[in-house]
C-alpha cells in the first residue's frame, strides 16, 4: 500500500499539471509571439541605431515596462481560466476524488501559475535588458529590488485572479484585473483625493488603500531615471504589503473554494 502524498508533494503535482496544461494548450505560442515582437524591435533598433545615452535609457525603460506588462498579462490570462477551465472540462472532479484537499489544489495552482509568470518575466526581461547598451548610470541594487518586487507582484496578481475567477466569468476577471493592473495606482490616488478637505477624507483614503497597487511594485522608471535604491525599510515594507495582500487573497480564495458547490 502506498502512503498518501504529503501536502508539498500534492502541490508539486498540481504545479506540474499547470505546466503540462501550458504546453498542451500551446500557451507557449503566446510567449513566443512576444519574444518574436522583441526580436523584431531589436532588429529595427539595430538598423536605425541608438545614437545617444538618452535614447538608450528610453529604450531600456520601454522594454522593461513592456516586460512588466506582458508578464502580468500572460499570468492573468493563464490564471483566469485555471479553475473555471477544470470545472468546464470536468477534469476537476477526478482530481478532487484523490486524497487531495481543495486547499492544496488551490495553492498548487497558485504556485504553478506564479512560477510560470516569473519564468515569463525573466525570459522577456532578459531579452529587453541584455541588448540595450547601458550608456547612463543605473543602480544595480535597485535592479535587484525591482526584480524581487516584480516577483511579488506576479504572486499577488495570481492570488487575486484566482479569487476573482471563483466568483466571476473569465472575461470579467480579465477586465477587472487588467484595469487594476494598469490603472490601480491612479484609481487609488484619484479616489484618495475624492473628499479632499472633508472630514471623511481620512476614511476614504483608508478605504482606497485596500485595492492592490501593482504600480507601487513597479520600479522600472525609478531605475531608468537613475534614482537611488529604496531604503531597507521601504523595500521590506513593500515586500510585506504585497505578501499580506497575497496571503489575504489566497486565504479568501481557499475559503470561497471550500464552500463552492461543484
Amino acid at each position: 500500500m502506498t502512503a498518501a502524498p504529503t501536502a508539498p508533494q500534492s502541490i508539486m503535482v498540481i504545479c506540474r499539471g499547470v505546466f503540462i496544461e501550458l504546453m498542451r494548450r500551446k500557451d507557449i505560442h503566446v510567449l513566443l509571439i512576444f519574444m518574436g515582437l522583441y526580436f523584431v524591435a531589436t532588429t529595427v533598433v539595430a538598423i536605425v541605431g541608438i545614437g545617444n545615452p538618452q535614447t538608450a535609457t528610453f529604450l531600456l525603460n520601454l522594454g522593461l515596462t513592456m516586460t512588466w506588462f506582458f508578464a502580468h498579462l500572460l499570468t492573468l490570462i493563464l490564471v483566469s481560466r485555471q479553475i473555471p477551465g477544470e470545472i468546464d472540462n470536468r477534469t476537476l472532479y477526478p482530481l478532487l476524488a484523490r486524497p487531495l484537499t481543495r486547499q492544496t489544489y488551490l495553492i498548487g495552482k497558485w504556485v504553478g501559475c506564479t512560477i510560470a509568470g516569473v519564468l515569463v518575466l525573466l525570459t522577456l526581461g532578459l531579452i529587453a535588458w541584455l541588448p540595450v547598451p547601458k550608456l547612463e548610470e543605473y543602480n544595480t541594487t535597485l535592479l535587484l529590488q525591482l526584480l524581487v518586487l516584480h516577483v511579488f507582484s506576479i504572486a499577488m496578481m495570481c492570488a487575486f485572479t484566482l479569487l476573482l475567477s471563483l466568483v466571476s466569468p473569465q472575461g470579467i476577471t480579465i477586465i477587472v484585473m487588467g484595469i487594476l493592473l494598469l490603472l490601480g495606482g491612479r484609481i487609488i490616488d484619484a479616489g484618495s483625493g475624492l473628499l479632499e478637505g472633508s472630514s471623511f477624507n481620512g476614511v476614504v483614503r483608508w478605504v482606497f488603500q485596500y485595492l492592490p497597487n501593482f504600480s507601487d511594485l513597479n520600479l522600472v522608471t525609478r531605475y531608468t531615471d537613475g534614482i537611488a535604491p529604496l531604503t531597507g525599510s521601504e523595500f521590506v515594507g513593500l515586500v510585506g504589503v504585497s505578501a499580506i495582500f497575497t496571503l489575504f487573497a489566497l486565504a479568501l480564495a481557499v475559503s470561497v473554494f471550500d464552500r463552492k458547490r461543484l
Binding site: I50, L62, G226
Partner: protein, 315 residues
C-alpha cells in the same frame, strides 16, 4: 464547541493583517521622488527627437514625453512634424521684456513623407489625405495652446513632481483665468517646494497681472502684486542658485548645455534674479536691492542687466 480549522485561523490572521495594511501602504510611495531623467527637459528633448521616438509614434511611457508629443501636435493642428518646438514656442512672451518671438518653422519635415520622397505610391497618397498633413515647405499654422490645458492638468495629477507641467500649464491658463493659474502653480509649489521654476512662474504671473491694471486707478493693487512677484522671484533665485552646480560656467552655444543644468533653467534663474532685483529696487529697499544684485552677480557673472542695476543703485 466547534473548533476552528487551521485554514479559518489563517484567513482570520490574513484578514486582520489586510485590514491593518493601510498603516503601511499609506507610508510607502516608492515612485514619489523629485527629478529623474524621465522628467528632465534636456533629456526629454533629445530622446523624443531620436529616430526610435519617430518609429514609436505616440507610444511613450512617461507623462513628460507624452505631453511633449501632444504639445507638438496640438499646436500644429494635429500635423505630425519632426519635433522642433522650443521652450519659447510654449511660453511665447516669457522673456524679460515680454516680447515673444514668431517663427513659422517652415521647412521642418513632416513624419509622413512628401510625394517626392514617399516609396508607398497610392498608400502614401491616401495617408496624406487621411491624416492632418500639409506640405512641409508651407508656413506652420500655430494654434492656441489652451486646448493643451487638460493634458497638463492630467499629467500633474498623474505625476505631481512633473514641474514643467505646472509651469507651462499655468502660463497657458493665465491668459484665460489668472486666478485659476495662480491656484494651479501654487499646487505645483505645494508638491515641489524645492523647485525654483514654480516660484519663478508664480512671480511671472503676478508680474503679468500688473500690466492689465491702470497705474493711476489701481496703484495700490499694482504695488501689492509686484511685492508678491518680488518675493517669489527672490525665493526662486535663492533656490535656483542652490540647485545650479557650483563649478558651472555658461557654455558658448546652446548645444553645449548639459542635462545637469540646461538652457531653460539658466534663463529662468537669470530672469528670477534680474526681476527680483528690479522689483526690490522699485517697491522695496534700494540697499537691499543692491545687496541682492551683488550677491547674484557673484554667481551669475557676466550679466549685463545685473551690472547695470548695480551701477544705478551704487552710491
Amino acid at each position: 464547541m466547534k473548533k476552528s480549522s487551521p485554514s479559518s485561523l489563517i484567513l482570520i490572521a490574513a484578514l486582520v493583517l489586510y485590514l491593518a495594511s493601510p498603516v503601511l501602504t499609506s507610508r510607502l510611495e516608492p515612485n514619489d521622488y523629485a527629478g529623474g531623467r524621465s522628467r528632465d527637459s534636456f533629456d526629454r528633448s533629445i530622446r523624443n527627437s531620436s529616430a526610435i521616438a519617430m518609429l514609436l509614434g505616440e507610444v511613450r511611457m512617461s507623462a513628460s514625453d507624452l505631453i511633449f508629443i501632444k504639445t507638438e501636435r496640438y499646436l500644429h493642428e494635429g500635423i505630425a512634424y519632426v519635433p522642433h518646438l522650443e521652450r519659447e514656442d510654449l511660453t511665447p512672451d516669457l522673456s524679460e521684456n515680454g516680447e515673444g518671438e514668431e517663427d513659422d518653422h517652415a521647412g521642418t519635415p513632416t513624419l509622413i513623407p512628401t510625394t517626392e520622397t514617399d516609396f508607398r505610391g497610392v498608400i502614401g497618397v491616401l495617408h496624406r489625405r487621411v491624416k492632418p498633413w500639409r506640405d512641409p515647405s508651407a508656413a506652420h499654422n500655430h494654434t492656441e495652446g489652451t486646448e493643451l490645458l487638460p493634458w497638463y492638468r492630467l499629467m500633474t495629477i498623474a505625476d505631481p513632481q512633473y514641474v514643467r507641467g505646472y509651469t507651462i500649464g499655468s502660463w497657458w491658463l493665465k491668459g484665460i483665468d489668472p486666478e485659476k493659474a495662480i491656484e494651479f502653480i501654487k499646487e505645483g509649489i505645494e508638491n515641489n517646494p524645492d523647485a525654483f521654476q514654480v516660484y519663478y512662474m508664480l512671480g511671472r504671473i503676478y508680474f503679468e497681472q500688473t500690466r492689465e491694471l491702470d497705474p493711476l486707478a489701481e496703484g495700490l493693487q499694482i504695488r501689492e502684486l509686484n511685492e508678491l512677484a518680488r518675493d517669489n522671484f527672490v525665493t526662486a533665485a535663492r533656490l535656483g542658485l542652490q540647485e545650479r552646480p557650483d563649478d558651472w560656467t555658461p557654455p558658448k552655444t546652446p548645444e553645449e548645455f548639459t542635462e545637469e543644468w540646461d538652457e531653460g533653467r539658466e534663463d529662468d534663474l537669470r530672469g528670477a534674479a534680474r526681476l527680483g532685483v528690479l522689483l526690490e529696487q522699485k517697491y522695496g529697499d534700494s540697499e537691499r536691492a543692491l545687496e541682492l544684485a551683488r550677491e547674484y552677480l557673484i554667481e551669475l557673472a557676466p550679466d549685463g542687466v545685473l551690472e547695470r542695476r548695480i551701477d544705478e543703485l551704487a552710491p
